[in-house]
């Protein structure tokens, strides 16, 4: 596993020029601690040594080698996680030259998002402003985007990235955290949309035929990947490496989960059946309805990365609040959920997407878990991230209130124990232009 090694490299190298040498050891005092996985601690302190949480309690004094931050009665939360974005891979969505999403081709499992992460992207700082310290960055723009090449099934490997680091290597928390997949579906395009996209409106029969063909090709690709794995293990004299098929090995071995974008009940069911048959680990992503899939997902222990709660109902005659109640519906069915946005410029609003679900039935503490510990568990990094616990990476935010409320201000942020700036292009424009006479 590559994570610990890369992470140590990141710790050793990053940020030191900004805040001095021993900048990742700190005592944060006089705060209300929200560990997420344990009851809140009022008037508490957290000791961070070398970027990791060393102690949590009410009687932690100053330490030599660790600076002291007086929290002034503020709230201390773990850094928030957005479990699905394209941050770092897209700057200005309408300018193709600034976009590195949606590579050409149907199966691209060998593509790695982290290597195209632009550490100078303005979106990194902007996203931090809401208390987000970590994101998954996906190589595909998603099932709902118009841009995915027709019939793209596997877009590549999504990376778990810290919103900090001089280079993408330093920012990477867990490269290849998920394999980004759009489950084939009958892709009906409303006629007026077809005109906009300058595409012919195909008959339903033709669309069904294309869908079945994509399903067949997908099955065949997984079969190829399995045969490749066997051939490699046997390493006969005529074995030749294949970059694409080799990238599938962690998937078919059940080590890397497929993040399967499946909007509708039927797609979710088919994705679960597919995972069963192929014996791969999956996460359902960006569903727009639960239908009868709740029990199925629970039974198979399949988690869900939710897309935007602020969304329109899928059908004209769906209840007006269908997208708002969806997270609560999955939770009530016993499915583990976390939140993502599947975009770039609104990645910072993921706490609000969770909050809207609270208004419509998701318990508040579950919404908060969906931004922290659940996300870490679903992405396989709960030993490192997602809560304030001894031994975990010190990704912390100091706030003057509930991070899911817009009126709350994020006051300070620590990534791996190092304080990072909350300034961004947005605050700089504010400072500059308020001064204009």
């Amino acid at each position: 596993m590559e994570f610990p090694k890369l992470f140590l490299v990141a710790l050793a190298l990053s940020g030191s020029a900004l805040f001095g040498a021993a900048d990742n050891s700190v005592v944060i005092r006089n705060v209300t601690i929200h560990p997420i996985t344990a009851p809140d601690i009022s008037n508490g302190s957290v000791l961070v040594i070398d970027g990791k949480i060393a102690e949590i309690g009410t009687r932690i004094g100053a330490r030599s080698g660790a600076r002291t931050v007086d929290g002034h009665g503020l709230q201390l939360y773990p850094g928030l996680i957005n479990a699905a974005t394209n941050v770092g891979l897209e700057e200005i969505s309408s300018l193709r030259d600034s976009v590195d999403l949606d590579e050409i081709g149907m199966f691209n499992p060998e593509l790695r998002a982290e290597i195209a992460w632009n550490p100078s992207s303005q979106h990194i700082e902007v996203t931090r402003a809401s208390g987000i310290t970590t994101v998954i960055s996906l190589p595909g723009s998603g099932a709902r985007s118009f841009r995915g090449g027709p019939g793209t099934v596997i877009s590549g490997q999504g990376a778990l990235m810290h919103l900090e680091g001089w280079t993408w290597e330093q920012a990477a928390v867990k490269p290849s955290a998920v394999m980004d997949m759009i489950f084939p579906q009958v892709e009906t395009v409303p006629r007026r949309f077809a005109a906009f996209l300058a595409q012919p409106a195909l008959s339903y029969q033709e669309l069904q035929r294309q869908y079945r063909e994509r399903l067949r090709q997908t099955g065949e690709f997984f079969e190829d990947a399995r045969r490749y794995e066997k051939a490699k293990a046997a390493s006969g004299p005529d074995f030749r490496r294949d970059v694409r098929l080799e990238a599938m090995t962690p998937v078919i071995q059940g080590k890397t989960p497929l993040l399967v974008q499946a909007e509708r009940e039927q797609m979710i069911k088919e994705a679960v059946a597919f995972a069963d048959k192929e014996k791969v680990k999956i996460i359902i992503a960006d569903p727009r309805e639960i239908g009868s899939t709740g029990a199925l997902l629970k039974q198979h222990n399949i988690p869900v990365v939710l897309g935007k709660t602020f969304d329109l109902p899928m059908r004209d005659d769906d209840p007006y609040d269908a997208p708002y109640t969806l997270p609560g519906d999955f939770y009530k069915a016993g499915v583990k959920i976390c939140f993502g946005t599947f975009d770039v410029e609104f990645a910072r609003n993921v706490p609000f997407e969770a909050a809207q679900a609270v208004a419509f039935g998701l318990p508040r503490e579950e919404a908060l878990k969906g931004l922290t510990i659940n996300s870490a568990e679903i992405l396989g990094v709960s030993d490192q991230l997602g809560s304030i616990e001894k031994g975990k990476v010190a990704d912390l935010i100091l706030t003057d209130g509930d991070p899911m409320q817009a009126k709350t201000n994020i006051k300070q942020m620590f990534i791996a124990g190092r304080e990072v700036s909350l300034e961004s292009r947005h605050t700089r424009e504010y400072e500059k232009w308020m001064k204009r006479p």
Binding site: R147, D316, A406, E429, Y430
Partner: protein
């Protein structure tokens, strides 16, 4: 599918809609926006208008009493930039000046997004033409009177408008490129293709309008002298522009960059008309002083940015900066989705720029009302204004809040409890239609299919994959 909506919502509406009765909303936290907050307050609505506000308001015996204990009452939300309820295309994009077309002619009262907007507390929308042309189509203000006809939705007495557009969108027709996903030949080019050309279109259109105005004045003067001249030829493109010159029609101008904003203000000064609102106006913060001096309102997004190069200098502090520099600022949706939670969009100005709760609420109530010239009728809870109000279970700037009830002119247009109540019945009806479809499909007969598609419109087949 669209044809099914009226059934869905007729059920909800028949259950919920009542006449212009006398209503007393009691014991709410009343957020008047313009006159402070009344704790444990009551609001009386009579004949569609707010008749009394206070801690002790008595009501006639036949008044409907709404117990709002623990709840929050605010004015109906107003969206200064909407494309909801437009049947078909939003843009007449074939010409650089499309001032002859009118959104009023294509209002679709059955657009389900009207009901969805209501359910988010929205009561008034400024329904705009698109941004494909420097001088765009005519626009209209509506009240979201769901269940009524298009004509009945028009906001009585609201000044109509016209859409202008600057920057990338109107330029795009000048250098149409095949976008990402399009196939087939690129469309034909038309002027303008630069910001300079956009300015020229506006200048030329208003030069024509002034000449046209002068011709009519000559004609009317001659008639007044008792002569019998031949009237000028009526020009449907120039008529609305003359109305702009005469202050009878508002200009709502889509814009992004500070240079083009300033350009438009200067052209308007030169031609002798006012820009009523700047729409989007993401770089308004750079020329806030000039915008304030011109007396123009700014209607912007809470936090949109980076979706195109002219939106790359955007900052969510825009609303706060312009407010601090004396501009009347509103937050708009431009979206069927965003219009459903403008109160929550408004809450963001508290984080980005530290505005107060009242300033935040004003951005989606009294400020857009001022911009649309309807602030004497709506936009705050004041005696004499329309009974357009929204009841929330929590403070409307709280992200855990949701809308309970919405009134327009004292009519009950949305009631969450009633919406929830009618759902099982609607689901039953929908299921019956789907079953019918299934039977027909299973039977597989041509007649069966025909019957089924008559019973449930064909798109449903696609919906179910």
């Amino acid at each position: 599918m669209r044809r099914l909506i009226p059934i869905a919502c007729a059920i909800a509406m028949l259950a919920g809609l009542s006449g212009a009765e006398t209503i007393l909303i009691r014991n709410a936290t009343v957020l008047t926006v313009t006159k402070g907050t009344v704790q444990n307050g009551s609001v009386l609505v009579e004949n569609g208008k707010i008749a009394a506000i206070g801690k002790n308001v008595s009501a006639p015996a036949d008044a409907t009493i709404v117990d709002a204990t623990g709840k929050y009452l605010m004015p109906g939300i107003i969206d200064c930039h909407s494309h909801t309820a437009i049947e078909g295309g939003v843009n007449e994009g074939t010409v650089s000046d499309s001032s002859m077309v009118n959104i009023k002619d294509v209002i679709d009262p059955e657009d389900i997004n009207i009901y969805r907007g209501l359910a988010g507390g929205l009561t008034v929308s400024n329904v705009l033409h698109g941004s494909a042309n420097a001088v765009g189509g005519q626009t209209i203000v509506i009240k979201l009177r769901w269940g009524k006809t298009a004509r009945e939705m028009l906001f009585e007495g609201a000044t109509p408008g016209i859409k202008f557009a600057l920057g990338e969108n109107p330029k795009r027709q000048g250098y149409p490129s095949q976008n990402f996903f399009s196939q087939g030949p690129a469309p034909e080019r038309r002027f303008p293709g630069t910001r300079m050309g956009v300015e020229e279109v506006i200048r030329e259109s208003f030069t024509d309008a002034k000449n046209y105005q002068a011709e009519w004045k000559q004609y009317h003067d001659a008639v007044a002298r008792g002569e019998h001249p031949i009237p000028p030829r009526k020009d449907l493109r120039l008529e609305p522009l003359v109305e702009v010159l005469e202050g009878k029609r508002y200009v709502h101008a889509h814009c992004y960059r500070s240079d083009e904003i300033l350009m438009l203000l200067r052209v308007a000064d030169e031609m002798g008309f006012k820009i009523r609102t700047l729409q989007h106006v993401l770089e308004g913060y750079k020329v806030a002083r000039e915008i304030a001096e011109h007396g123009t309102g700014a209607s912007t997004f809470s936090d949109w940015w980076a979706y195109k190069i002219e939106a790359y200098d955007a900052t969510p502090y825009n609303a706060a900066i312009m407010t601090r520099k004396g501009v009347v600022v509103s937050l708009n949706s431009d979206s069927d989705e965003l219009q459903r939670h403008l109160n929550l969009e408004a809450a963001k100005v508290m984080r980005y720029g530290g505005l107060s709760e009242t300033e935040a609420l004003a951005m989606v109530t009294i400020n857009p009302a001022k911009q649309l010239g309807i602030d004497n009728q709506v936009g705050s809870i004041e005696v004499g204004k329309s009974g357009d109000m929204v009841l929330f279970d929590k403070h409307p700037l709280d992200y855990y809040s949701k809308v309970q009830k919405v009134w327009i002119d004292g009519h009950d247009y949305f009631d969450r409890d009633k919406d929830l109540e009618t759902r099982p019945e609607f689901q039953k009806k929908k299921k019956a239609l789907e079953d019918k479809l299934k039977v027909a499909e299973d039977t597989g007969t041509r007649q069966g299919k025909r019957n089924a598609s008559n019973a449930a419109s064909t798109p449903m087949i696609e919906e179910n994959q």
